[in-house]
Amino acid sequence: MIRTDAIVLHAFDYRETSRIVRLATREAGVVSVIARGAKRTGGKFGQGMDLFTSGAAQIVLHPTRDLHTLGSFDATRARPGLAASLARFGAAAALSELGMRCAPEDGGGAIHDVLVAGFDAVSVAEAHEVIPRTVTAAWHLAEALGFAPTLEHCAACHEALDTEESVRFAPRAGGALCARCAALAPGARALPADARAMLLAWAAGEEGIPADAKVARAHQRLVREFLEEHLADGKPLRAWRDWEMNGGHAESR
């Protein structure tokens, strides 16, 4: 039995009264747990197991299985702000999907901390802040997973890159490429100097807002392509793509 800070990434009903919940935890990484009786209102989990809610969890870890048992979950912070706009809701789902792709051994407690910071930032974001804050959290997640992109040196030959220079960005190669290596990497995207500067600022923990919505959307796509390349199972990030396509179903506005 461990006691740990945790955040609910996803939950679905299981049998008549239980739910299976994917949690990002500080002590045990990202794990799936069964919450017996969680569907009953007034049960010991109450309303506390809603999406993107933080709490203190007690988990019985089964060393030989992938599904552990949730003993209790005391909610400490709900994030209703994430449903206060469809853009925030779509972004939160996209972030959650990234967390769900992580394995228990990935990044340790850092994944939990990155996601909590990301959900907190998005839950109070103004419309133009939603994409940059979510993208920042996604890059921090890549860093926590140990595959932050190379931005100041060529990812292939390690030659230093001039900060004034527009370069190419190749997810498969692991980041920015010098002109020589980019010629050998077809399909690499152009990364203008100011976009690269913004990536470096985000990596350093600064808040940067892209000049306009078009630039923001380019960043949204860039980090998604990078993560799809590097997350273990290589499957498309469906919720992220949905959010990218219509900003959390905002297309009709």
Partner: protein, 195 residues
């Protein structure tokens, strides 16, 4: 696969029924008079063949329209939107509500790949427009996904002129803070209003 194995497999797909219970039920059905088991089979066939979604509100019915939609005493200007047909029973039990319903067939759930096109939102909007409904009460579940769905509906219905409201939530009336679970208190705090 033998008939016995097939039934056990099918029964064990049902909620709350594990393989052991499925076996026990199967052998029970074999022991009882054949006519009794045949009745169960016929009831299942009738269920599958006769029950369908209401043309108007997507509630479950055996006719083109459900009993609530054809009831002349119900107020058609007020539409209560629920996620599932089974939610209607909970609201009907209170006896407080005299309007009609609309069953969405779920809620927006991007993590499960469920978007607006998977729900009966387009029929709802045209229904509200056509009926000139005065109020739409969104009674999706008190969850983040239920809230996002309510928000989406309110945006889709803005042009209709109908008032869109949401069920209130938080601490149950007559409840005691001491016995409320942490989640409920956290929700109530987050949804607090100035007085």
């Amino acid at each position: 696969m033998s008939a016995i194995d097939e039934l056990i497999t099918e029964l064990s797909r049902l909620p709350t029924i594990g393989r052991k219970s499925a076996m026990r039920l199967t052998y029970h059905l074999l022991r009882q008079p054949a006519a009794q088991s045949r009745k169960l089979a016929e009831a299942l066939v009738a269920l599958v063949e006769r029950v369908r979604p209401c043309d108007t509100c997507f509630n479950l019915t055996e006719a083109a329209q459900c009993a609530i939609c054809v009831d002349a005493r119900r107020d058609r200007q007020v539409i209560c939107v629920v996620e599932e047909a089974s939610d209607i029973a909970s609201i009907e039990r209170t006896g407080e509500y005299r309007g009609v319903y609309h069953v969405l067939g779920g809620r927006l759930a991007p993590l499960d790949g469920i978007g607006p096109s998977h729900l009966t939102i387009v029929p709802l909007v045209s229904r509200v427009m056509q009926a000139g409904a005065r109020e739409v009460i969104v009674a999706t579940n008190p969850t983040l996904e239920g809230d996002a769905t309510a928000l989406y509906l309110s945006e889709q219905l803005r042009a209709s002129g109908a008032t869109v409201s949401r069920l209130a939530r938080g601490l149950p009336m007559g409840g005691d803070l001491e016995y409320a679970d942490g989640g409920t208190i956290v929700q109530a705090l987050a949804a607090r209003r100035a007085i």
